[in-house]
Subunit: 187 residues, 2 copies
Amino acid sequence: MDQIRTYFNRFIELTDEEWRAFGSCLQYTKVARGSLLLNAGEKCDSLAFIQQGLFRFYTLRDGEEKITGFFFSGDFVSNYRSFLTGQPSDHYIEAMQDSAVHIIRHRDLQSLYDRYKNMERLGRFISEQLYLTVASRLDSFMFDTPAERYLALQKRNSKLLEEIPQYMIASYLGIKPETLSRIRARQ
Amino acid sequence: MDQIRTYFNRFIELTDEEWRAFGSCLQYTKVARGSLLLNAGEKCDSLAFIQQGLFRFYTLRDGEEKITGFFFSGDFVSNYRSFLTGQPSDHYIEAMQDSAVHIIRHRDLQSLYDRYKNMERLGRFISEQLYLTVASRLDSFMFDTPAERYLALQKRNSKLLEEIPQYMIASYLGIKPETLSRIRARQ
């Protein structure tokens, strides 16, 4: 729980009352390795804060897994698009390790937004942050070569490169595993 | 001005007081065809609501113009990343026609957020909307072929295809003009 408060404090300091109201909405859940936190076709109606563990976010295209994100301890994980629009998810969220999360449901979050201006602001900050993350990933797909994308990833998140199998990293970078091997061999 | 209120009403209905407070921050500005609303290297410290006109959003990579967005009458235009982070813009915003905009400055918007919970909520809604837009563009770059991207654009925004030169459309789709000609010839 302290981990979440530290995360929020990056953006805004909640009062004790706001924090208690938020905390009372959280539900602690364990997710076994290989289990799905979200299935494709389901509506994503919660956000999960990862206390411990590792998740991958992927979709199937022409029968092939395409990984579009990895989420670590200390991150929020959700299909934010499905969460915002109410449309069914086209992605799966799968635990790659035995994991533990704190879940907050959509309707509880909306009620916190209604009750507290600071929660509303926090929601805006987090949304802005997610915008920046996805905008920067879009830039890298539009402008960078696969080798540049790999180098940027190394710089940004070396932890990811230690814990994730190479073929999943390749999928995340939008390249074939052989291409990733060649990039790594040239380093 | 009514145009802006209609735009906002898609998300939330502001009270008359909130609307007056917002309106009093707006500055009406004409932008001649070919002029820059934002120069690369500058910090983007305002949002502009387009009353009339057309803008393109582009960056230079290895001396080549790369267009990443078009903005029409009724849209907000800004370098939202630079606006949020305070970092200098790496993009230009250029009027492609004689245009007119209503501008609101960063500090005035922050003060509206402080004063009105509804403005805070509106800021969150708009940020969520921008997230969805950029996430969908990222998907199209990761998963779709150039031909699929062109067809999706036709479906989404036929106005764009009428008013924008083909070589700019090609740049926006991340393909060469010859590739776009081939795609169009096959239709």
